[in-house]
Amino acid sequence: MLHSQMRANRLVIKLLSSIVMLFALFASANAASAATPAPVDPSKIFTIGGAMTDCGSGIPGVKFHVTGPGLDVISTTDKTGHWAAIAPETTKYVVDRFTVEIDVTTLPKGRKLFIDNTKRSLIFNHVNSSSATFKLAEIKCAGTTGGNGTNAENPGLNALFNGINLGLMLAMAAIGLSLIYGTTGLSNFAHGEMVTVGALTLWTFNKVLMWDLVPSALTAIAIVTAFGWSQDAFIWKPLRKRRIGLTQMMIVSIGLSMVVRYFLQMIYGGNTKVLTQGDTWEVLGVKMPAVNIICSGISILVLIAYTLFLTRTRIGKATRAVSDNAALAASTGIDVEKIIRVVWVVASLLTGISGVFIGLYMQAAWDTGFSIILLVFAAVTLGGLGTSSGAAIGAMIIGLIVELSTLVIPSDLKFAAALAVLIIILLVRPQGVMGRKQRIG
């Protein structure tokens, strides 16, 4: 008993000392990311633009026809793949609609659009610039044999593997969310931003500073952990001290999520950062990026380690006690605030890993985490609010639904399928798959 307590104490000391280190890193990372400039737009004029990229490098010479009130120009992408058209000056509150049409004949040979739709319409909603996005189908990057493309021969197995992959990544983020919910009651809408920070800092180290993947990933995870620690230290703990209600805290987290998300957009810009890595492996006839397979393996190990932490260590047991009944746990001598801090660190560690893996799986952008946060919430609710095993199972279900649904419905509806399943399950079994009935009160 004494031995395990000492071990636990040492763990805390280790965690704390590493956090101090991470803070220095966080500062340096910010400086690094600020060094990547957003496209400069010095004029007051409204611009319409975008970028055509292929594996991180721009495609020059693609033509776009931009039309709208007082505007009819053709814009061509430059060496970096960027293009822009300038709309006539207007000071109106909301500007009229513009149409952008891509000239598909100017695309590189053999390349097609991901969605066969050559037109986009744009409206300026209180911003000076608007972008039109066109994605290319089947990206095959130089140096790889298969890339992230679909495996036409075996779509079922491919979707299954993708589903497992996504499920495992979501599981770590979902356990993080669920841990925090279980111990503090907070439905943290800013959780997705931890995923984004993980993915974007990975990109900063790996693709801007050109570090190797492993040190970049570890640093990114460390930064997310530091971010989680400081969130609790500077925002949530003071709010708990003020005895702010849980609904209020939830709305505070919505505000925080907006602040962080748009701060990241300000620094990193609106475009997607490509994180594609090296080799492709073949498993049961399905080609997959090696890095995704390795990520799945690591995810499983992390989930096992987490389970051992929860069931075998003294802190893990204390965590479960606090999440079951905080007042009772406090009366047995558990320092609830200390446990909550540990929970935040563990939760953001798991979420950081998830963020790095999700970045490697679906690329990184300022709203990556925001785009999956509802899936994470769905996973946690599906499993039963506040239980870790439930969150993991819920995440696997959501991951599989998202990817397997693409076999029967259009792929741009795959997230909708997961949300539909969430609503249906709540109708039938509101306490979730693993939840206890009294929790839904």
């Binding site: 709305i251 925080l256 909708a416 509101p430």
Partner: protein, 324 residues
């Protein structure tokens, strides 16, 4: 400087401000008076916008017919959202409404629904009949930086009349016996149930009425512009909540004033920052980056409001207790 100031004043009385105000009045009924955490007001607005536009474009319905279709769809949506969740704890309603509104957005923006919803491009050209109702003769009206076409004048009159109308409806509702019951539900659901009231039915009625306001707001919002699926993300709902909490959730006038302050301040801060960038006063930002600052301001404002003044500008602290 004149232009910056008049832009802000324009924003105060813009039809869009009115549309947001009406949608926020709906959430005031849901959250401020009934205690329902509706995070899916964007879906009610989307139903208004798409219902109206599709009924006009694809089915050729007259103006009032299209409005009726939207209203009908809105009631159906309220039932779909309410039936699974109104018996559960309040955070379930929050998650389900937000999930449903995102789901609706994915469905209307899918390329496979393009013939009907326009897919990612959205819809336009459905307002002719509305402007046909305009009795104001063609011309420009107003003075200085405040000149409007006859359509803009008509749009402003209609929107703000509806704002006043819905504010009065809300005031009457919450002062009625029905209003006393829903306020009772907000304070203590079990106590109201023990008095023999059907809490579930009252909550459902509140959800339907507030949702209807969102739908009307959705129609108003799209008449002067096009329907864009991207507009109906969770952002829209969070903006509405910020306006609501700014004015005071448990007040009638709060959502209206909140919406005006919200858009006025955003316009002002945006224009000032842009002017600063253009004149070289602010050198650490580009114009693209200024566009993101407004959202950071909204987020920060929301956090500070909820922490330091949860009752809003006009609210009474005793009236609004955030539960659970």
């Amino acid at each position: 400087m004149d232009l910056i100031f008049s832009n802000a004043v324009n924003a105060l009385f813009d039809p869009m401000t009115a549309a947001y105000a009406i949608a926020a009045i709906g959430i005031a009924l849901h959250f401020g008076f009934t205690g329902l955490l509706n995070f899916g007001q964007a879906s009610f607005m989307a139903v208004g916008a798409y219902g109206f536009a599709i009924a006009t474009i694809s089915f050729g319905l007259p103006f009032w017919g299209a409005v009726a279709v939207s209203v009908g769809l809105s009631v159906i949506l309220a039932f779909l959202l309410g039936i699974p969740t109104l018996r559960l704890r309040s955070d379930y309603l929050a998650i389900v409404t937000i999930a449903a509104s995102e789901m609706l957005r994915y469905i209307v923006s899918t390329t496979s629904a393009q013939p009907l919803t326009g897919g990612p491009q959205g819809l336009n050209n459905y307002s002719t009949e509305f402007y046909g109702l305009n009795p104001i003769p063609v011309g420009t009206y107003g003075f200085w930086n405040f000149t409007y076409s006859e359509r803009e004048v008509f749009m402003r009159i209609v929107s703000w009349t509806l704002v006043v109308l819905f504010a009065i409806v809300l005031a009457i509702l919450v002062r009625s016996p029905w209003g006393r019951v829903i306020k009772g539900i907000r304070e203590d659901e079990d106590a109201v149930r023990s008095l023999g009231k059907n809490v579930y039915a009252y909550k459902m009625q509140s959800l339907i009425v507030g949702g209807l306001m969102g739908t009307v707001a959705g129609i108003l919002f799209v008449i002067p512009r096009s329907v864009q699926p991207g507009n109906y993300g969770t952002q829209l709902t969070f903006f509405l909540w910020t306006m609501l909490l700014l004015g005071g959730a448990s007040t009638v006038i709060g959502s209206v004033i909140g919406s005006m302050i919200f858009w006025g301040l955003l316009s002002l801060s945006d224009d000032l920052l842009r002017a600063g960038v253009d004149n070289g006063v602010i050198t650490f930002l580009t114009n693209d980056q200024v566009g993101t600052i407004r959202f950071m301001i909204v987020g920060l404002g929301l956090m500070l409001l909820v922490i330091f003044r949860p009752q809003g500008i006009f609210g009474n602290k005793k009236e609004l207790q955030f539960n659970g």
